[in-house]
C-alpha cells in the first residue's frame, strides 16, 4: 500500500525549542490515521508542516506525492483541511461560503454538498459568526468533504464538541472513508479508537510508535503474574512498562506481546510463577502506559520539556 503522507526525519524548531524531532512516519492511502498525543506533543505543528503553513527546519514531508513545501495553489484542491483553531469567513453565510468555495475545486460535487448540508443540518442562510462551535465545524467539514478530496487533514476536529455533534461528524467522515485518506489529530483517545485504522503517538515532539491499530492492540498486554511465594524484586525486561510488584503479585504492561513466546519469557524471569494472565488493553491504557514510561525515562536522558503548542502558535 502506498503512502498518502510520508515524513522523513522531520524537525521543526522555534528558536531554541524543538517542537518536532526527527519525525518519521507514513500514512497509508485509504487509512484513517489518528495522530495522538498530549497537549503540546507537536501534533498541530506536524499538521501545519504537512499543509505548508509552516516550513520544516530539517527533514522532508511528502503529501500525495508532492513535497509539502511545494504545496500551494492548485495542489491544495486535493486536500481537505479542518482545524479547531481555524479562522472562518465570519461575514459569510453558510451558503455564501459554499458558493465561494465551489469554483476553487474542479471536482466539487454539488449533490454531495447538498447531502452534507442535509446530513449536518446546516442553516444555509445564517452567518458563520452566528453559528455555534459545533455548527462551524460541521460547515467547515462540509466545505472540506464536498470536493471528494483524496486526503482529509483534521486538526483536533472534535475538540470541545458535544457528543451528538461529534457523532454526526464522525458519521460524515466514515461515509467518505472509502474514497479518502484521513489524517486526524486528537488528544482524546476514546473518540478516535472506534474508527481509526492506524495510530501514531507523538510525545514531546517525537514519534513513539506509528502502526495499525489492531497490531498495536495485539502487541500490548496488561500482564499479571502470580507467584508461588513472594520473592525479592527482579529486574524487569526492557519491554515491560509500569512494572510493579506487591507481595506475590507482579503487574506490568508488555509492549511486545507475542503469545506463548512472551509467557515463556515471563516464566524465565519468574521461575516460581503460578499463573500468568495477559489482558488486552484499550488505546487509552496503552497511551497512558507509554506516556508515563516516557516521562519517567526523560529525566534520565537529561531532556527538558518542550514548549506547549499554544506557545508554538503564538511564536508562529
Amino acid at each position: 500500500m502506498s503512502a498518502a503522507v510520508k515524513l522523513e526525519r522531520l524537525s521543526k524548531r522555534f528558536g531554541r525549542t524543538e517542537a518536532l524531532k526527527d519525525v518519521t512516519l507514513e500514512v497509508p492511502e485509504g487509512s484513517i490515521y489518528a495522530l495522538v498525543g498530549a497537549n503540546g506533543a507537536g501534533k498541530t505543528t506536524l499538521i501545519k508542516l504537512l499543509m505548508n503553513i509552516l516550513r520544516p527546519s530539517e527533514g522532508q514531508a511528502e503529501v500525495l506525492g508532492m513535497a509539502s513545501e511545494q504545496l500551494a495553489g492548485r495542489a491544495l484542491d486535493r486536500i481537505g483541511y479542518v482545524s479547531e483553531n481555524q479562522e472562518h469567513p465570519e461575514w459569510m453565510t453558510v451558503r455564501q461560503m459554499l458558493d465561494y468555495l465551489r469554483p476553487f475545486y474542479p471536482k466539487w460535487d454539488r449533490a454531495l454538498e447538498a447531502y452534507l448540508v442535509d446530513q449536518f443540518d446546516l442553516p444555509l442562510d445564517r452567518k458563520i459568526r452566528h453559528l455555534s462551535r459545533g455548527m462551524r465545524m460541521k460547515a467547515a467539514m462540509a466545505g472540506a468533504l464536498a470536493f471528494r478530496p483524496p486526503l482529509l487533514v483534521l486538526d483536533e476536529p472534535f475538540s470541545g464538541l458535544d457528543p451528538l455533534v461529534r457523532d454526526e461528524l464522525i458519521e460524515g467522515l466514515l461515509d467518505r472513508a472509502q474514497e479518502t485518506t484521513i489524517l486526524l489529530s486528537s488528544h482524546d483517545l476514546s473518540e478516535i479508537e472506534s474508527f481509526s485504522t492506524h495510530v501514531g503517538f507523538l510525545e514531546q515532539g517525537r514519534v513513539l510508535f506509528s502502526e495499525e491499530l489492531p497490531a498495536l492492540a495485539e502487541r500490548f498486554r496488561e500482564v499479571t503474574v502470580t507467584l508461588m511465594v513472594a520473592t525479592e524484586n527482579r529486574a524487569p525486561l526492557p519491554e515491560w512498562l509500569q512494572y510493579e510488584q506487591s507481595d506475590a503479585v507482579v503487574r506490568f504492561v508488555h509492549r511486545d506481546w507475542r503469545g506463548s513466546q512472551s509467557v515463556t519469557g515471563v516464566q524465565t524471569v519468574f521461575p516460581g510463577a503460578r499463573d500468568v494472565t495477559a489482558e488486552p488493553m484499550t488505546l487509552r491504557s496503552i497511551f497512558l502506559a507509554i506516556a508515563r514510561a516516557e516521562r519517567s525515562e526523560r529525566p534520565e536522558r537529561g531532556e527538558r520539556p518542550a514548549r506547549p503548542a499554544s506557545e508554538e502558535r503564538s511564536r508562529a
Binding site: K48, I53, L54, A72, G73, L76, Y81, E87, H88, F104
Partner: protein, 538 residues
C-alpha cells in the same frame, strides 16, 4: 469565472460599505474642488461657497483616510499574517489573489480618482483628453506614494488597529528624524540628488515586501524590507547635505560654464542678523558673458574667508535661495551666513572671500507676447491665466495662472502696470515705463501626486522700485519709489520659458574686501523671486 474575478466579486460583496464611502467621498471631493477651482479663477461666487470650500479641504483629508481603511480591510480580508487563516489551506493561487486585490484597488480607488481628476481639469477649463497621459502618471504616482505603502503595511499586519499604530509609529519616527536632520542641517544647502535613488528604492522595497508576502508569507522578512525602506529614507535625507553629492550634482567644469560670475562692486554689500548668533552677508554678484536670454540660477554657495592676519573660516555648502542672474545686465545677491563672533573679528581689517557657487545655467525659449484679458485667457505652454480683482473693485492688482497636471516650465512673466485704476486712464493705456516681472514654474516640471491636478500659481508682478535704494535697506526710500499700480486689460504681457542648460560650479574671489557693519533691519534683496511690494497711498 477565473479566480481573479471570483475573488474580486467576493471582495465587492464584502467591502461594499468601504466602496460606497470611497466613491461617495471621491465624487464629493471632485464636486467641491471644482467649485474651489472655479471660484479662484473668477472672484466671487454663490453664498454657500465658503462652506463648499471648507468641505473640499475636509474631503482632501478624508479621502486618503477612506483609502487607508479600504486598502487595509481589503488586504486583511485574506490576512497574510499568522497561521490560522481559513484561506491559506484553500487552493488560492497567490498571483491571482494579488491580481484580484490590485484590480479592486484600481477599480474603486484609482479609477474614481482618475475620473474625478478629469472632471476637475474640465471644470478648470482644460481639455481633459489632452492630459490623459499626465493624469495617468499622476494617478500612478498617487498609487506609488499612498496605495503601495498602505498595501505593504497591510500585508505585514493583522488588523486595522495595528496598521494604524504602525502608521503613527512611522510618522512619529519620520517627524523625529526630520526634526533631527533639519536641526543638523540648519543653514545648509540640500540636494535632492539622492532622492532619485532613494524613492525608487523605497518603492521597490515596498513592492518586494508585498510580493514576498503573497508568494511566501515571510512576515519578518517583509517587515524587514519595509523597515529598510524607512531607514533608507532617513539615510537619503541625511545625505542631502553631503558635500560630495553636491559636488557631483554641480560638477566643476569651467569650459562649459555660460558665464563668469564675479563680485559686483557697483552695488553695496549689506548684512542682516539671523537667529543663532549668525550674520547673513549679502554679496552682490554679476555674471560676465551672459547674453540676452541666458542666465544663472544660484542654488548654493560655499565661502572661504581669510583675514589679513591669516585667520581662515570656511563654510559648508549653504543655500543661495535660487538667486537668478539673467541677461547681460543681470545682478543678484548671494547670502553667506557666518558666526557673528568671527564676523566681528574679521571686520577689523580687509578680508579675502573665495566663493564657490553651485549654479544652474539657464537659457530662454521663445517668448510669447499677449495682452492681458478681462477674464480667463489661455497662455500657451502655461495654462490659463486670469486677472485678480483687487478689493476696491478699481481694477486688477495681480493675476493667477493655472496649469494642468504639472507646473509649467520655469517662466519669467513681465507686464506693464497702469498707475490709474483700470478704466480711469485713457483707454486703460498702460504706463509705459513701469514694467513688473515675476517668475513661476519649475526648471524640471514634474507630475505631482496630489489629489487636485489643477496646479495654481499666483503671479505677483514686481512693483518696480529703485533697486539700489531697496538693496541697502532704505525702506523709506523704497516706499517713496513705489506707488499703487494696476494691471489692466489690454496691458502687454510676455511669458518667457527658461530651460536648464547645465549644472555647474562657479568660483570667484573678492580680494581686500571690507565687511560691512551689521544692520539691525531685515530687508530683502531687490530680486527676490516674485517680490511684490504694494504701498497703499490712498
Amino acid at each position: 469565472m477565473n479566480q481573479v474575478g471570483h475573488i474580486f466579486t467576493k471582495d465587492v460583496r464584502r467591502h461594499w460599505p468601504e466602496i460606497a464611502a470611497t466613491l461617495g467621498l471621491t465624487g464629493l471631493f471632485g464636486w467641491t474642488m471644482s467649485h474651489q477651482t472655479a471660484s479662484s479663477l473668477n472672484a466671487g461666487g454663490p453664498e454657500y461657497l465658503g462652506g463648499v470650500l471648507a468641505l473640499a479641504m475636509l474631503l482632501a483629508l478624508l479621502l486618503p483616510v477612506s483609502w487607508w481603511v479600504t486598502i487595509t480591510r481589503l488586504v486583511q480580508g485574506e490576512s497574510l499574517v499568522g497561521d490560522t487563516q481559513w484561506w491559506i489551506t484553500k487552493p488560492y493561487e497567490w498571483g491571482r489573489l494579488l491580481a484580484a486585490k490590485i484590480l479592486f484597488l484600481a477599480t474603486f480607488v484609482l479609477a474614481p480618482l482618475f475620473l474625478a481628476q478629469l472632471w476637475l481639469l474640465w471644470a478648470a477649463g482644460f481639455n481633459p483628453l489632452g492630459h490623459w497621459g499626465g493624469l495617468t502618471l499622476d494617478v500612478a504616482l498617487t498609487a506609488a506614494v499612498i496605495v503601495v505603502p498602505l498595501m505593504a503595511l497591510s500585508t505585514v499586519t493583522k488588523s486595522l488597529s495595528r496598521v494604524t499604530v504602525t502608521i503613527l509609529g512611522v510618522l512619529l519616527a519620520m517627524i523625529a528624524g526630520a526634526a533631527l536632520i533639519g536641526w543638523l542641517h540648519i543653514g545648509r544647502m540640500t540636494t535632492s540628488a539622492a532622492d532619485e535613488v532613494v524613492y525608487p528604492a523605497m518603492l521597490l522595497l515596498a513592492l518586494a515586501a508585498i510580493v514576498l508576502q503573497y508568494a511566501r508569507r515571510q512576515v519578518w522578512a517583509s517587515r524587514g524590507m519595509l523597515a529598510a525602506a524607512v531607514v533608507l529614507m532617513g539615510v537619503g535625507a541625511a545625505c542631502s547635505t553631503n558635500a560630495g553629492l553636491i559636488a557631483m550634482t554641480y560638477p566643476q567644469n569651467g569650459a562649459t560654464a555660460a558665464a563668469a560670475v564675479a563680485y559686483d562692486a557697483q552695488l553695496p554689500a549689506w548684512t542682516n542678523p539671523t537667529a543663532m548668533h549668525e550674520v547673513r552677508l549679502m554679496l552682490p554678484l554679476h555674471a560676465a558673458g551672459l547674453t540676452a536670454g541666458s542666465g544663472v540660477i544660484l542654488d548654493g554657495v560655499r565661502a572661504t574667508v581669510t583675514t589679513a592676519d591669516g585667520r581662515r573660516w570656511e563654510s559648508a555648502w549653504q543655500p543661495a535661495n535660487g538667486t537668478r542672474i539673467v541677461g547681460a545686465e543681470g545682478r543678484g545677491y548671494v547670502p553667506v551666513q557666518m558666526k557673528a563672533g568671527f564676523y566681528e573679528a574679521a571686520r577689523q581689517g580687509p578680508v579675502t572671500i573665495r566663493l564657490r557657487l553651485a549654479a544652474v545655467d539657464i537659457r530662454a525659449g521663445n517668448t510669447k507676447r499677449l495682452t492681458m484679458g478681462a477674464g480667463d485667457f489661455v497662455v500657451p505652454g502655461v495654462g490659463i491665466c486670469t486677472p485678480q480683482n483687487d478689493n476696491g473693485g478699481r481694477g486688477y492688482s495681480t493675476m493667477r495662472c493655472w496649469s494642468a497636471v504639472r507646473p509649467p516650465q520655469l517662466t519669467q512673466v513681465t507686464g506693464q502696470w497702469s498707475q490709474m485704476p483700470c478704466g480711469q486712464n485713457v483707454a486703460g493705456a498702460p504706463e509705459q515705463t513701469a514694467v513688473g516681472d515675476a517668475w513661476f514654474g519649475q526648471l524640471h516640471p514634474a507630475v505631482t501626486s496630489g489629489l487636485n491636478p489643477v496646479v495654481k500659481m499666483p503671479v505677483n508682478l514686481s512693483n518696480p522700485l529703485n533697486p539700489p535704494l531697496l538693496a541697502v535697506g532704505n525702506v523709506g526710500a523704497a516706499a517713496n519709489a513705489s506707488a499703487r499700480r494696476y494691471l489692466c486689460p489690454g496691458a502687454p504681457l510676455s511669458f518667457t520659458p527658461y530651460r536648464e542648460v547645465a549644472k555647474t560650479q562657479y568660483e570667484t574671489t573678492i580680494a581686500d574686501f571690507q565687511l560691512p557693519e551689521v544692520k539691525q533691519e531685515k530687508v530683502q534683496p531687490f530680486n527676490s523671486p516674485g517680490l511684490h511690494v504694494e504701498t497703499r497711498t490712498e
